[in-house]
Each structure stands twice: as C-alpha cells, then as structure tokens.
Amino acid sequence: MRFVIPLIIFLTMVIFLGIGLKLDPREVPSPLIGKPAPAFELPQLADAGKRFGKDNLKGQVSLLNVWASWCVSCRQEHPLLVELAQKNIVPIYGLDYKDSREDGMAWLSRLGNPYVLSAFDADGKVGIDWGVYGVPETFVIDQQGVIRHKHTGPITEEAWQKTLLPLILKLQKEGSAA
C-alpha cells in the first residue's frame, strides 16, 4: 500500500516522458492551416519576365514545395518529387527560396524538374509570409486557395502514403462534388 503513490507518480512520469520522446520539436504547427494562402507575386525561376502568383494555384488542388539548391534535405527529397510528378496525381509548384537563379536552374536541369512552375524568392520575403522556417516545406492547397496542410522537412514515402496522398484525394473529390 505504501508503494502505491510513488508508483502512480512514477507511471505518470513515464507516460509524459514517453510522449515527450515521440514529439518532434522541429514540428511547429503553422497558424496558416485552414486560412487562405498568403498573396504573393514573384518572378518565375525560368523566366524573370514572367510572373507567378497566388492566382496560378486557383481552381485545383496543388502542392507548393519550398526548396533551394543549397538545401541538403531538399536533395534527399527530390527523387520522390520527380517520381510523384511523373504519376501526375497533383500539380507540384516550387518556391525557390533564397537562392541564386543560376544555382536553382542548374539544380533542376541536373536532378530533374518536378515542378509545373517555380517561383523565385530571392530575398525570402514570400517565405516569411508563408511561415517558412526550414526548407524543404510542402503546403497542400485546395481549389479555393486555402492551405489545408503543411509538411515540414523532406517528404518521406510514409508521409506521402499516410497523410499527403489521402488528403489530396479527399480534397480533389470535394472539389469535383462542389
């Protein structure tokens, strides 16, 4: 009987520490989820004369992937993006974040270009508006231009199968029903 209270305290601590181990401190919930995507207007990466803005995303479910040629994890993620682009499930747009135009272009021609279009965010201002804090980041945007999900860090096969793909299919169905 004497050991009941210490045992309860011990078990409570084990439970909380266990939860703490499972949490990823890099995963900061974005306040932008469920809100319209922040407006932006940027030159395209491939052609400085052409613009890329929020309107390009309208009317379809899309992914906006924030990347940079200097970003190591982006390189790790890249083959999966190329593979997804070939499957043609959802258009993937790129936001080349704090990069140089030459480096970004060279990166795409060397490793393949999964993006329908890439916007070029040289000073990272649009990145700040989107709450970007660590590339790569991927946003799921619905037909109405509302951000529905954010994935921080490289997309893994598991994250794609378990979270992103089901959400995209669900949003596409919602859109065609409406």
Binding site: I5, V28, P29, S30, P31, I128, G131, Y133, G134
Partner: protein, 152 residues
Amino acid sequence: MKQGLLVLGLALALNAQAVEIRQFEDPAKQQIYENLVKELRCLVCQNQSLADSDADLAKDLRTEVYNIIQSGKSEQEAIQFLVDRYGDFVLYNPPLKTTTSLLWLGPFALLLGGGAFLWRHAKRRSAARETEPSLTDDERHRLQELKKKIEG
C-alpha cells in the same frame, strides 16, 4: 593567466560580432526593438531568441522587426506580424489560451498537489506522535536510574 584573459576577451568580442548592430535615431524605438528581439524565439535554433541567433532566418526576421518598428508601428503590431506567420511558438511569453493552459496552470497544480500531500503527511505524523504510549511512573523512575548509572 593574462594570456587566458586575453583569449577569452577576444572570443567574447568575436561572439558579439555574430549579430549585426541596428541603430535607430529614436532611442525609444531602439529600446522597443531590443526588448522585442530578446522576447521572440528563433525557429531554427529553438532555444535561442532572435537577438542571440546567428541563423539566416533570425537575421531576416530581425530585419522585418526593424522595419516595422522603424516605420512607427507599435510593438504589438510587430508581434502580431510574427504570430500570424509562425504562431504562438515564437513568443517566449505565450498568451493564456486553452492550448497553453497546461503550461500556465500546470506549475500551480503541481504546487497544490505537493502542498496537499505534505500537509496530509505532516498531519499523520503528528497524530502518530500524540497516540504514542507514555511511560508509567515506575518506568520513568527506572529510566532516571539508568541515566544516572550511565552518566556515572
């Protein structure tokens, strides 16, 4: 010893250079800016404030805060700018909400729980002391005798 101090001094000087210096013409604005960047958390190196962090993003965010304060907007507006984009996570002093209630009230709950436990424990002990059987006159007499014998 002297050399050690010199090296230490140089190291500190280099360290201080890690974060750029921003000057305001208005000392009141300067004060607001300096307080703000100490209270805002860097998202890249999460245990550092914007003021301490050498991360690229922290530098960009300091620039944003600088521009907001420089343009004459209030401290609240600068905080709101960051909270809109990065959430309450950027605040070292988060507001009391349902999602942060455990953070704010948890310590008080622990204090209350601990206090209640101590109080009960102390009460039980004093109760135990009161019910301790006291010595009879005969026993007390024997005790005195024994003490005398030992002390010689």
